[in-house]
Symmetry: C2
Subunit: 308 residues, 2 copies
């Protein structure tokens, strides 16, 4: 059994590859939930949904979010009724959020709801929220503090960031199944997701980080950074704001207490000696995953490292 | 200013005519809310929505409910996620329910929400829920007691009905503006809606019925029954279950304490002497309203009776 720690888009690419190269039932995927938001009164869990849709073969690969071929009829009408519509919710996608909101209101946990949704959509991998308790990522900018979705989607990650904060993370416990999965995993994969706002919140749940540290001989990762820039999104910007250098080296420092093996870009081969001095077994490869073939290849390379 | 008491479909036809024959801003429409339901955790007010959509020119006249040309993408996905989908909610229609649910959760009243929705959709008539407090219609059948929507939509009004009950109606007060509108109205129109489950709940709000009785010289109605059958829907069935005969005469008995003038079908001309003995000024006409021309004609005839 392989445990995977992930955010949305970047992580989904590697997970698509892993699910193709392994029996998907062997994957237990722990998702970031600190970007969860309420839009129009509906509870949206962007990273969980991206992973479910990816594994259900429903995701819109071009856009990197939402459901392939979805329509936006309800959203247009919500706008006509005066609602803010900067967060795009498609009509099929809405069914997920309507169901989640209804079940949460009925007192069910995000874990239970996530498991229901993935099963209904035919996903065989286990998908776990990092926690059933909610906490949120806030980003400090010259315009003031904003939620991660405001920064990322509404402001197109343009504002300067001076700090990132996870409100209430230290009070949270891992969702049921998370710690057990980490304990018995054959390997733990840290996806090439944003180390600060995607993997960072997962690590900020105290019992998750503690469990990872006990399994540090089994943790492999893929870099989300090539040179000094994220393959996609604002990871480099948020790393600098959090006091890390924007590089594969900076990513390894984020994971210093539990990372064993790290796959970096060919362009970052020169960093390997320094990574080894940090006691990380580093390997260089082509880590860009623009299409399914590349996703499968990177997954195979990662699985080969795990087996070694 | 004309006050109109209405349910959904039947009432919407007369209201379409009245809004064409008058300045729509002169209409204050009081809607039944005892059929309001929660579907998929969303608050649906079927009668209010039918009236708003009708006056906004958006209603699906063929089907008699929902929005013309609406799509059902979210509903199909809700079904795929295991939700019950016997109540059809279109994608554009969903935007109404999502907005209403969000605003109710934020503590706003149904009156305030209804006013917001009708204004955003360009409706100039005032639309008021009968009450901001919720109570529901229950129908007793051999299968047990069920909500009106279960009986009407899910069971296609097939079960035998032995009783109709409005739970909590006696504790409710009229919504803001309802009693004032009744007090100052030049005329009060009782639509050809179901006397038991559409107009009945409005009359079961104690202060509304009391206010109507004080204005009994101004109340005109149109019969929803021709012979012994409702023009559409189960009115005749529910009238019998409630101890009234299924006829224009039975309808007048439902409204005995406040009805002044009643428009009945040509086929029911023979009932006029008996209606007059009940002190109701009865007039016979063609009261079927299959198209816009008929709706305008019936509205004109009603307005002529009001002016006389």
């Amino acid at each position: 059994m392989i445990v995977v720690l992930t955010g949305g888009t970047g992580g989904a690419k590697l997970i698509e590859g892993l699910a193709a190269e392994l029996d998907p039932a062997e994957l237990t995927i722990i998702c970031n939930t600190a970007d969860d938001c309420v839009f129009h009164g509906l509870n949206v869990s962007p990273d969980i949904d991206t992973i479910i849709y990816t594994l259900a073969g429903m995701s819109d690969r071009e856009r990197g979010w939402g459901i392939k071929g979805d329509t936006f009829v309800a959203l247009e009408q919500l706008q006509r009724l005066g609602n803010d519509a900067w967060f795009q919710l498609g009509d099929r996608d809405l069914a997920t959020h309507i169901t989640r909101t209804q079940w949460l209101r009925e007192g069910r946990s995000l874990s239970e709801i996530t498991d229901h949704l993935r099963r209904r959509l035919g996903v065989r991998s286990t998908i776990l929220p990092m926690s059933d308790e909610s906490f949120n990522t806030y980003v400090l900018t010259p315009q003031g503090e904003m939620s991660f979705q405001e920064f990322f989607v509404k402001e197109h990650w343009k504002p300067t960031v001076s700090a990132v904060r996870f409100e209430g993370a230290d009070q949270c416990r891992a969702a049921p199944g998370v710690i057990d999965a980490i304990r018995i995993a054959d390997a733990i994969v840290v996806c090439p997701s944003n180390p600060i706002t995607s993997i960072g919140p997962i690590l900020s749940v105290p019992d998750i980080r503690a469990a990872l540290v006990t399994r540090s001989d089994t943790v492999v990762g893929v870099s989300p950074i090539i040179g000094t820039t994220a393959i996609s999104g604002p990871a480099h910007k948020l790393m600098i704001a959090s006091g890390f250098e924007a590089s594969a080296l900076g990513v390894v420092r984020c994971y210093a207490d539990f990372l064993d093996t790290f796959l970096v870009a060919d362009e970052d081969r020169c960093l390997i000696p320094e990574l080894k001095r940090l006691s990380v077994n580093a390997v260089a490869s082509d880590i860009r995953m623009p299409d399914r073939a590349a996703r499968c290849r990177v997954a195979r390379e990662l699985l080969a490292l795990i087996r070694k």
